[in-house]
């Protein structure tokens, strides 16, 4: 069957005009009648026993309606995998920035003034300030794990700072190393990052004894609803999350934060409460990408084949679980890369510390895993005296390869991506390193990756036809810049023939919109795409019935050409109708309305994983793969690394909206550049030193203005909508590793940690990455 030309055609972004004209309403743009303004008193210290919180003066301040502390909420805690996080601190504070008290007042100014009147007495405790501190168990962030409810995925170890452990076991690691001719061991680190989304977190809560309504820029409204339900005991159907536009997510809005605070604050105040974080609060009191330590030992035979690999990982997950266990799981599955390794063992830990929460960040740990194993692969190739691309091509998974979890792989595009990325950089014409006329050292680097999408999961949508024949899609796949709103209209158009400008996607509201698990994991095009296709076919069936009725012919004789949108009748050539004009045709008038449901779930495809080994013949619905190659130039006298060129090739299965895909890659390259060279949250004894936009170096447009070559590889996914796979997170997965490998090649010595600061170039990085464990 031919595919409608709207698939694979660049379409103007559905959200574009509203966003560039300032019409889009983000979280902080919303106000509701009678609202109060919230403000949070954050812990000024990273780890302390709470002695006293005196709110008397704050409560007496004119215009203050309510002040609450942890004691007012009881022992309610929340979390996606382990309910360890209190709404407001109870007994202890575990990171600087942790909410201790909350105020609701008539104005924002009054609320912030009243904050100054809260008296907080505490006794400081030793700070667990690093992965090493956490492992040594000299200080315990949680005295016991027993009091917390666990939802499956977290595996804490009593008496330690281990919040989760993930193991992946394949083959016999000891035997594997015996076969090896070369064994390479290394340690790698990635720094802690902030999402630095343009729109800060915000929420409005409107809560009564019976119902909770929240307005927020949430990525995962149904998961937020579920967390509120578990933590506060309201029935699910009495909790409503109304989604605002999202001004940047990248995982920072995947789990609730302010939603939880306004819920309890509004309930106590008995009025709606609005809360908007400042940039300072964003840095200190929201989420981060955890810093991580990798130890990798790899064995290969002298003919260049990987035979064994042991990967040990420690995440600095911060004070509370958050989505840490999911990071551990996803990165754990990715930890051996897109390679055929017959004997592999991964042992990975989430360590809690007195830092801000290390949680979801574009890629859920997969970028960090790729950073580590791809730096390691270069070292293995070097030990074998092989070209890095050639070595990878010799070992990457291909159709029919068996993965480290025992899956027979299909639709594997990584080799094609490696070939395209290296070719577009000019890899084979370049030496490994050279010096230019200005004395700068040049080097080339390559990296590839593999990433799962969370499985099993489900989604649903409705597509309904308005009286004028236009379509409205109700889907909880949240637009946050990645382009899902546009893509969903293309799917609907591809089946119905209705032009995309006559198809709208409604805003998300959990009381109206059908269920979708989350907008994370690069899953929306795939999952919601399939759901919209199903709904669109059903919608066409319903419309066809009406057309047949009007034409007084058999249903089977009426045919819709989705390319042209024309209904024709097999038995009467004189009959035709453009579906784009169906509103005016009168066919719909007083008929039963046209509304269709689409559903998609992966439970039946998923092969439940073994709890110990994590072996599974189908651990994910969709593997995402790609490769990037980089050329850098280094000024050794200033330590500056200039990215000359990045060549990216990503297997998107099928590019539904090609420009949208390319924009994703461009954005990812810029972000990955920041990871590799600039960004890092610097903590000293539990205090964040650079929590502002000057000292935390997000790349500017000027920095991102390097040459990029982007190729979209299309290896169709058998279950994907028109073969499509995800592209949102993968784009950033290999960038840091490609740059670090290019820098290492140029220097002639291995870089082990990111960000690669100029000082590391000039003075080395000893002591900055090597573990003390």
């Amino acid at each position: 069957m031919s595919i409608s030309p709207i698939i694979g055609t660049t379409v103007l972004r559905k959200d574009g005009k509203d966003k560039v004209t300032g019409h889009a309403k983000y979280g902080a743009d919303w106000n509701i009648s009678g609202q109060l303004y919230g403000a949070i008193f954050h812990s000024p210290v990273p780890h302390a026993k709470i002695l006293k919180i005196d709110t008397t003066k704050a409560k007496a301040y004119p215009g203050v309606r309510c002040v609450i502390t942890g004691a007012d909420i009881g022992n309610a805690r929340f979390g996606g995998f382990i309910a360890d996080q209190p709404f407001l601190a109870i007994g202890k504070v575990r990171y600087k920035g942790e909410p201790v008290a909350a105020i609701a007042a008539d104005t924002e100014r009054i609320a912030k003034e009243a904050l100054k009147l809260i008296e907080f007495e505490y006794e400081e405790l030793p700070v667990v300030d690093s992965i090493e501190d956490a492992i040594s168990c000299k200080g315990l962030v949680n005295e016991t794990w027993k009091d917390y409810t666990i939802f499956g995925m977290a595996h804490p170890v009593e008496g330690t700072n281990i919040m989760d452990r993930f193991e992946l076991i394949n083959g016999d690691i000891e035997e594997g190393f015996k076969q090896a001719d070369v064994i390479v061991e290394n340690e790698f680190r990635c720094g802690m990052l902030q999402h630095t989304v343009m729109e800060p977190h915000s929420a409005i809560g409107d809560v009564t004894d019976d119902e909770i309504t929240i307005y927020a820029p949430a990525q995962s409204p149904f998961s937020t609803r579920s967390m509120l339900h578990h933590a506060l005991g309201y029935p699910l159907n009495k909790i409503r999350i109304i989604c605002t536009e999202i001004g940047g997510g990248f995982g920072s809005k995947a789990e609730p934060k302010l939603e939880m605070l306004v819920a309890v604050l509004s309930k106590a105040a008995r009025r709606p409460v609005k809360l908007v974080y400042t940039r300072d609060e964003e840095f200190n009191a929201t989420f981060t990408r955890a810093s991580v330590l990798y130890k990798i030992k790899t064995g290969a035979t002298k003919d260049g084949k990987l035979c064994a690999q042991k990967v040990q990982v420690w995440w600095d997950t911060g004070a509370y679980g958050g989505f840490g266990p999911r990071v551990n799981y996803n990165a754990g599955y990715a930890s051996n890369g897109p390679y055929f390794i017959p004997n592999a063992y991964t042992d990975s830990y989430c360590m809690v510390t007195n830092h801000s929460l290390g949680s979801a960040y574009r890629g859920f740990g997969v970028s960090e895993a790729a950073q580590a194993y791809e730096m390691q692969m270069d070292e293995v190739a070097k030990a074998l005296n092989m070209d890095p691309v050639e070595f990878r091509l010799k070992n990457v998974l291909r159709d029919g390869s068996v993965s480290v979890t025992g899956e027979t792989m299909k639709s594997v595009g990584v080799a094609k991506c490696l070939e395209a990325a290296s070719k577009n950089l000019g890899w084979s014409e370049m030496p490994e390193r050279w010096v230019d006329e200005d004395g700068k050292l040049h080097g080339k680097g390559i990296a590839c990756f593999i990433k799962i999408s969370g499985t099993p999961s489900t989604t649903s949508c409705t597509v309904r036809m308005n009286e004028d024949g236009t379509l409205l899609i109700n889907s909880a796949s949240r637009e946050m810049g990645q382009g899902v709103r546009t893509v969903l209209t293309q799917f609907a158009s591809s089946v119905t023939g209705i032009s995309v400008d006559r198809i709208m996607v409604a805003q998300t509201d959990t009381s109206i919109t059908p269920y979708d698990k989350t907008t994370t994991s690069s899953r929306s095009t795939f999952h919601s795409g399939n759901a919209v296709l199903e709904a669109s076919h059903e919608l066409v069936r319903q419309v066809t019935e009406l057309v047949a009725k009007k034409w007084k012919c058999n249903f089977e004789d009426v045919h819709l050409d989705p390319e042209t949108g024309m209904f024709t009748c097999k038995t009467d050539d004189s009959l035709s109708l453009d579906i784009n004009k169906i509103g005016k045709s009168g066919i719909l008038k007083e008929e039963r309305p046209i509304i269709a449901v689409g559903k998609y779930g992966t439970k039946d495809i998923f092969d439940p994983v073994d709890e110990k080994t994590h072996a599974s013949k189908r651990p994910t619905i969709m593997w995402m793969m790609g490769a990037q190659a980089a050329e850098v130039a280094i000024d050794m006298k200033t330590g500056k690394v200039e990215v000359v060129h990045i060549s990216a090739a990503h297997d998107v299965g099928k590019a539904i909206n090609p420009l949208g895909c390319i924009q994703q890659v461009e954005g990812g390259l810029s972000m990955g550049y920041g990871h590799a060279l600039l960004e890092e949250m610097i903590y000293e004894n539990g205090h964040l030193k650079n929590g502002n936009m000057v000292d935390y170096k997000v790349p500017t447009f000027m920095d991102s203005d390097f040459k990029s070559s982007i190729e979209l590889v299309e290896v169709a996914h058998p279950e994907g909508p028109y073969g499509a796979k995800g592209i949102g997170e993968p784009v950033v997965a290999p960038t840091g590793a490609a740059i670090a490998n290019a820098v290492s090649a140029a220097l002639g010595r291995r870089i082990h940690s990111i960000p690669i600061k100029p000082e590391k170039i000039m003075f080395g990085e000893e002591g900055e990455y090597a573990s003390k464990i």
Partner: protein, 303 residues
């Protein structure tokens, strides 16, 4: 959310001085530092917005000097081919402040009065022997820019004084200047360190005058005398770059912090001194004649 403040908008310098004294008010020029401080919670109960004082925004000249009103914007300098060609260090500095948007708002006077060690325009102004004219009800007084600072974020300005203008000395023929800023990003960044220099050659390629300054290498932007002394009277063929680099960091006292180590900043300044010198030298060798009067220069963007 900004803290509460009273706003005054004087139309004359005298009015501004009086208001400043009466209310211990904070002067707001472009606002690119003051408003950021306020958003960070800093309270300035009285803000005196001087943007309406027109005479502070002019650039004037005579035979020997150019005088910038305190409200001269960085963008004004940046967009001037005249300053780019003849007063390159100043152009180098002004065109690297913040971003285009910030340079449209930020002023020379504001950059000076904010008095942070990383100010991009102060170091370059120092190599042109800049002198500040300070206005008060008692009249104007002149203070060399190098003497204007008494510590980080502290200046010699009295309670009733405001900075009125900055005057630089015109260059002679065979003069060139350069400012090199080291930042981690290509825009929107503060100088991790920076170095400025100006040299003037005679017809035999002997350096007859040299001026140097350092940015983010001490509690304030400082004049840097050791390289000046080394270069003055020396023929360019006798300049040892390694020696120059060492002298250029002799008086530098950068701090070690989580931003970077002092050792790293010293190594950078050493290298940047060599580059700044070479850049200034090539510009000097190209400058066959003294810069013309701004008003005589045609084909340039003249203010």
């Amino acid at each position: 959310m900004l803290p509460r403040f009273d706003l005054y908008e004087p139309k004359t310098i005298a009015e501004a001085c009086a208001l400043k004294k009466e209310h211990n008010g904070r002067i707001l020029a472009g606002g690119t530092d003051v408003v950021i401080d306020m958003h960070g919670g800093k309270e300035f109960p009285v803000i005196i917005d001087i943007k309406g004082i027109e005479e502070l925004e002019t650039i004037t000249e005579d035979e020997n000097t150019i005088t910038f009103g305190a409200l001269t914007r960085h963008r004004t300098i940046e967009e001037s081919v005249f300053f780019k060609k003849y007063y390159s260090a100043l152009w180098d500095g002004c065109s690297q402040v913040g971003s285009v948007q910030i340079r449209h708002r930020g002023t020379l006077g504001g950059n000076i009065c904010n008095a942070v060690p990383s100010a991009d325009s102060i170091g370059p102004l120092q190599v042109f022997d800049a002198v500040c004219t300070v206005a008060s009800p008692e009249g104007d007084r002149e203070v060399a820019l190098k003497d204007f600072f008494i510590g980080p974020k502290k200046t010699i300005l009295g309670p009733d004084e405001i900075l009125k203008s900055i005057t630089i000395q015109k260059l002679k023929a065979r003069s060139g200047s350069c400012y090199i800023k080291y930042g981690r990003r290509k825009a929107m960044d503060l100088a991790l360190c920076g170095i400025s220099c100006m040299i003037e050659l005679d017809e035999n390629d002997t350096i007859v005058k040299s001026r140097w300054s350092l940015t983010t290498a001490a509690p304030t932007s400082i004049r840097n005398y050791p390289p000046e002394e080394y270069l003055t009277g020396r023929n360019i063929k006798d300049v040892d770059l390694d020696e120059l680099g060492k002298l250029a960091v002799k008086d530098a006292k950068p701090r070690s912090s989580w931003r970077s180590s002092a050792e790293f900043r010293i190594a950078l300044l050493d290298e940047m001194a060599k580059r700044a010198y070479q850049n200034a030298l090539s510009r000097a060798l190209e400058a066959k004649t003294a810069p013309p009067l701004m008003s005589e220069e045609t084909g340039f963007n003249v203010f």
